[in-house]
């Protein structure tokens, strides 16, 4: 069932795209064809070639990279007070002007610098939690797919069940128990974001383990771990890359949604969602500079991720066709 779930909310990439990718992979698991140990390098190159043809996607990648540089290198070039909440007091809600190119927020922090500062948190958290989620998802998926049988069925039913809990509800449920801090949020996002990955990697592993090369290795007495490490995992690199992109985007979106709901990274640190939330309150009394800049930066990032996702999926599907 290759279908697109209508997305709504910050998490629309989450289950939806896992579905798309699972759908795309499904046919291969039914009819394993090739027997050679895959040249994953070539495949990656092919994917890259197809990806590069999509101009918008390339522009999107450029945006993501420059935004990352902006957030992490920017503060070295553009100095602003983001930590001393006492010294900032005098500038609360300053409109854009001298010393504050984009104005100041309700604590008196410079908005331009704040976007970088918040972006660091959002990006760091996005990457770290995506990494955790990927690790769990890949391990779970490959294990289930490789073992197969009843265990596989049970493990996948669990994943199905978790996927049917609307993402934000699951996140809030965990937060209500665990509370929140940067570390906890990373763990929570990581631990609740791996179900799609697991499902996808499971079908990959399932298709690969029955391939002739894997059977040959097994016949020659190769151990399971050797098959997994040397033969299955290298063949899933391109899948993993695609999934990783989605996972990072998902985490950033989820974090921003949480921030907007008021359960993001607690002050004095901040994230884009929290900034947008505070900006939206003060927007009503005329402080537009607290809302628009951060919204634009974030929205462009979301759109970029979607373009990249689309392009990656295209490249991915071509790869499957050529397999």
């Amino acid at each position: 069932m290759a279908m697109e779930t209508p997305g709504a909310g910050g998490l629309q990439l989450n289950t939806a795209d896992a579905d798309k990718l699972v759908g795309a992979v499904a046919p291969t698991s039914q009819g394993p064809s090739g027997g050679e140990v895959a040249g994953s390098g070539t495949m990656l190159r092919q994917m890259l070639r197809i990806f590069m043809k999509n101009k918008l996607a390339v522009a999107s990648v450029a945006y993501v990279i420059s935004l990352t540089l902006f957030c992490f290198v920017g503060p070295y070039l553009y100095h602003s007070n983001q930590l001393d909440a006492n010294a900032s007091l005098l500038y609360t809600n300053n409109p854009p002007g001298a010393g504050f190119p984009l104005g100041a927020d309700s604590s008196g922090f410079d908005i331009l610098g704040r976007i970088m500062f918040a972006g660091q948190a959002s990006l760091e958290l996005g990457f770290l939690s995506a990494f955790i989620g990927l690790t769990i998802g890949i391990a779970y998926g490959v294990f289930a797919g490789y073992r197969g049988g009843v265990l596989d069925t049970v493990m996948m039913r669990i994943v199905d069940a978790m996927l049917s809990i609307p993402g934000l509800f699951l996140l809030l449920a965990v937060i209500s128990v665990c509370g929140r801090s940067k570390l906890i949020l990373i763990l929570i996002l990581g631990c609740t974001g791996w179900f799609g990955t697991a499902r996808l990697l499971r079908s990959e592993a399932l298709s690969l383990r029955d391939r002739e090369f894997a059977q040959a290795v097994r016949a020659m007495g190769g151990s399971s771990s050797r098959i997994i490490w040397r033969h299955i995992l290298p063949n899933t690199v391109s899948t993993m890359m695609t999934v990783a992109t989605f996972a990072i985007a998902d985490s950033i979106l989820a974090l921003t949604a949480l921030g907007y709901l008021g359960v993001g990274i607690p002050i004095p640190q901040t994230d884009w969602g929290t900034m947008i939330q505070q900006g939206s309150v003060n927007f009503q009394i005329g402080y537009w500079w607290q809302l628009y800049p951060v919204c634009i930066v974030f929205l462009l990032l979301v759109i970029s991720f979607n373009y990249i996702g689309d392009a990656l999926r295209d490249a991915f599907e071509v790869r499957l066709r050529e397999r």
Partner: protein, 328 residues
């Protein structure tokens, strides 16, 4: 077909069982803290112990889970831990919020399905025209924009700048299951324009994309080609054949759209101060009212699973082949 439905139902039950396990297991992480949080000041270990005992938190893990399931089957979701509603049954706390979200989501879903069919069909008919491209782009945007950013923009543009619609919903008064529906269409329709619009647009992205693809797929089917070859006008073909056949999968996708819609509703309710399940979830998360949050998670998941099963049943019933064998 019955066996298919039975299997589907079985799967649904398994899913719900797994979810109950999650909603049961999560809160067991910090029982001591729950006791302390609820009992407040001057809590002695003896009192904590008594509290744990009263709430059955000192039993074995599976015994507790068994109790939990037994209670669930009796419609007992526990009692609230929020000091404001301390010891009130969770069902009683949640009850007023259910119809609000139910109607908001249902109405939005219906509107977005109708709209997506119309847009998708026109796109399918006028493939590769400017209309198609423009709609594709708009739909892409709608699909990309996170719910809270979109709601913010609707508030800023339609609410604060143009001053056309109120930017929040007065949903406090509640007198029965159908009240939110009356509220929406009779008492305060203007208050619902923006939230419903937000949810519709968010749902539209995926639905329209899918509808367009579905129409395009159908148009190349053999029987459509035959109909065309027989000289039927393309509009006639579209409505008579393509539409009906393309409609079938959209029933499924309605079911699949539910988790996203609930997620979207959670954000939308927060933005527009609409006191529904999503709003209650956020508010209970802030006050660490774990039983209520767990119950809400469970309810929303069950609704989602039910929606999916209903969609499957609908699909089975509307499938021409099945229907034909049924009537003859």
């Amino acid at each position: 077909m019955p066996s298919y439905l039975l299997r589907r139902l079985g799967q649904g039950i398994i899913v719900i069982l797994v979810v109950t396990f999650v909603t049961f297991w999560l809160p067991t992480w910090e029982p001591g803290n729950i006791a302390k949080a609820v009992l407040g000041n001057h809590t002695t270990p003896a009192e904590i112990h008594a509290f744990l005992h009263d709430h059955g938190l000192d039993k074995g893990f599976f015994a507790q889970y068994f109790d939990y399931m037994k209670n669930l089957l009796h419609g007992n979701l526990g009692t609230s831990l929020n000091p404001q509603t301390l010891d009130e049954p969770v069902t009683q706390v949640i009850a007023p919020y259910v119809p609000r979200t139910f109607w908001l989501v249902l109405v939005s879903l219906m509107i977005s399905v109708v709209l997506s069919i119309v847009i998708g069909m026109f796109q399918g008919l006028r493939r590769n025209t400017w209309f198609d491209h423009a709609m594709t782009f708009i739909v892409f945007l709608a699909y990309s924009i996170p719910a809270f950013v979109f709601s913010l923009f609707t508030i800023i543009f339609f609410g604060l700048t143009l001053n056309w619609f109120p930017v929040s919903v007065d949903s406090q008064s509640n007198t029965g299951f159908f009240y939110p529906l009356m509220n929406m269409f009779w008492y305060h329709p203007s208050q619902f324009v923006l939230p419903v619009m937000t949810l519709v647009v968010l749902g539209l992205g995926g639905l329209t994309r899918f509808m367009r693809g579905s129409i395009l797929d159908t148009m190349v089917q053999d029987y459509i080609r035959t109909a065309r070859a027989k000289g039927c006008s393309s509009r006639r073909v579209l409505f008579k054949h393509a539409f009906r056949n393309a409609l079938t999968p959209i029933i499924t996708i309605m079911g699949l759209a539910l988790p996203g819609l609930f997620g979207g509703a959670l954000i939308t309710e927060q933005v527009f101060n609409y006191l529904g399940l999503g709003w209650l979830t956020v508010s209970s998360t802030s006050s660490r009212d774990v039983p209520v949050v767990m119950a809400l998670t469970l309810i929303v998941t069950v609704l989602t699973v039910l929606g999916n099963i209903l969609a499957d049943v609908g699909l089975a019933l509307s499938d021409p082949r099945i229907r034909l064998t049924g009537t003859r």
